[in-house]
Amino acid sequence: MKAPLPVAARVESRVVASQLRSRRRMLALGAAGALAALAPLALLHGQPFWVNILISTYLFGGLAVAWNLMAGFAGQFSLGHGVFFAVGAYTTARLYLLWGVSPWLGLLPAALACALIGPLIFWPTFRLKGAFFAIATLAFNEVGVVCANYFESLTGGPRGLQIPFKPGFAQMIFTNPAHTAVLMFSYLALCVAAAVAVRRSRLGYYLLAVREDEDAARASGIDVTGVKLRGTALSAALTAVGGALFVMAVRTIDPPSLFSLPDIGFKFALLTLIGGIGTLAGPVVGAFLIIPTETWLRATLGGGLPGMHLVILGGLMLAAALFMRKGLVHAIVTLVERAQRWRTKGQRHD
């Protein structure tokens, strides 16, 4: 723009004011969210059953947030994230078992490896759209299973890897499950913070633009492939870290447990879609909704009738898909907006 227009000064101050408001609002929401997420742990820290549920909830919530970076922000529905999860788990476990490398350090090469190879293997599939991209990434997951079974020296083959119970902070193994839960919560907080930072940055806007309309994005100067690669790298790295935390928490891994679609690969999608894909809170909300429900169902029904709890869970999933098409967060936001519109309509009549 050439000469600054007189309105610019007013606009500038209005923008800065709105940015301050929105940043303050964001911090407030973030703090409230963190407290809400930690509250159950504070209340239930003495009951192992519930603490274990929280461990899973925090971990998979973070994993779903990481998945959402690619699927929600960039619009790339990946079913291959199990590969990153597995790489994180195997790398950390192997480094620990072979050379005693602390998992705190071991997760770094895992994350780095995924940040570099993730985009590389996904790159040829970027020009595939929608369903084709989904099943191509599904193929990645299945190739991953085969490789994991085959390369025994790296992964322990079909028997997998076991980590002996040797508690200690450096080993990321805790006697008190509540400590593991705090660790997982930190992971969730890290992922959410990363997602918020991305969303508010240029990369975030570019990812959304690429999702909405690639041609318009290109015409606006966006390097579409580069943006997709960067989004993939971040998403993959965060997922790998989740895998590293997972292996130190469960201490036994094998190809079925890492590459299972219903438990891992598709679960990220499940949590995110139910909560609201593309939103910041969606994956977290989805995790808090689904994982306790699923665990409770399995505990109450699993023994008597094998499979029954999954029939019910599947039914709930189907119902959620049909009646909350854009996820829970969107449904709530719509209700709130509608309520606000009611209020302003009422206010206007005075």
């Binding site: 699927a71 529905f77 040829p124 599939t125 595939l128 759209k129 929608g130 369903a131 084709f132 989904a134 099943i135 191509a136 193929a139 990645f140 299945e142 190739v143 085969v146 490789c147 079974n149 085959y150 219903p262 598709f266 999608a269 499940l270 879609l273 894909i277 009738l305 094998p306 499979g307 029954m308 999954l310 029939v311 869970l313 599947g314 039914g315 999933m317 189907l318 898909a321 049909l322 098409r325 854009k326």
Partner: protein
Amino acid sequence: MELLNLLSIGILLGGIYALVALGLNLIFGVIRVVNFAHGELVMLGMYGAWACSKLLKVDPYVTLLAVLPALFVLGLLIQRFVIQPLQNEHMMQMFATFALLTIAQNAVLVLTRGEGQSVNTALAGMAVELGDVRLTATRLVILGSVTAIALGLHLFLNRTLLGKSIRAVTQDRAAARLMGIHVERTFAITFGIGAALAGLAGVLLAPIYTLSPGIGGNFIFAAFAVVVLGGLGSVAGAYAGGMIVGVVESFAGFYIDPELKQAVWFLIFLAVLVFKPSGLFGQKGAEEMGMREQT
């Protein structure tokens, strides 16, 4: 004559894959929805054959008369009540089919209490010997059936009005609608036919495999590889693709490590998607269509 043996195994296997792929090809190719539950439709066909043959004391092949219409109706219902409402939310749509998969697999698990079942037919144990090569009757039936079905499907799509309207809808929904074709009804019928074909595959496969609720997974990946390789919407492609995948798998299992054999499907699949997404016989750009917003 190792080569001949491998080839014949591959072709018979190919027949099985083509059979499952024909139904998937119709659904994926026409409606553009990734039906994760397709393997479960096959599984339901298998269990349907088992249940009917036990209850009615007939040879499993006869149960076709009951299983086919049942699965056709199931397909109609799935399309109308699950797929159709989610047509603008593609990710949710895929997710919903996965939910169907979960429900189907576990419902059968609950009902059969996890016991494997098997189906007996008069043809069991019969085989044809061609020199050193042994071709079992049950697999020959499949090969013959899939060839007949492929021909029939091709004629249906090209010579009948319904078939042509299905092809029209595959190419351009908006234009088809303007021609007076009722798109939603066409989709419902297509899904019904696709499901019926899956059920047919189930009935024909029942004598060969031990039934278990998760058996759908054995076929679904190979079927997707076949559909992608052959080209979306192409019957000839599904047939040829099935044969190719079957033969490649047979040879790979023998010359390369049998453990890596499964990876063959996915590598074929990925190679096709990356280098020639329209497949061998498909229309160029067909894979783009249907991914955009549709009126």
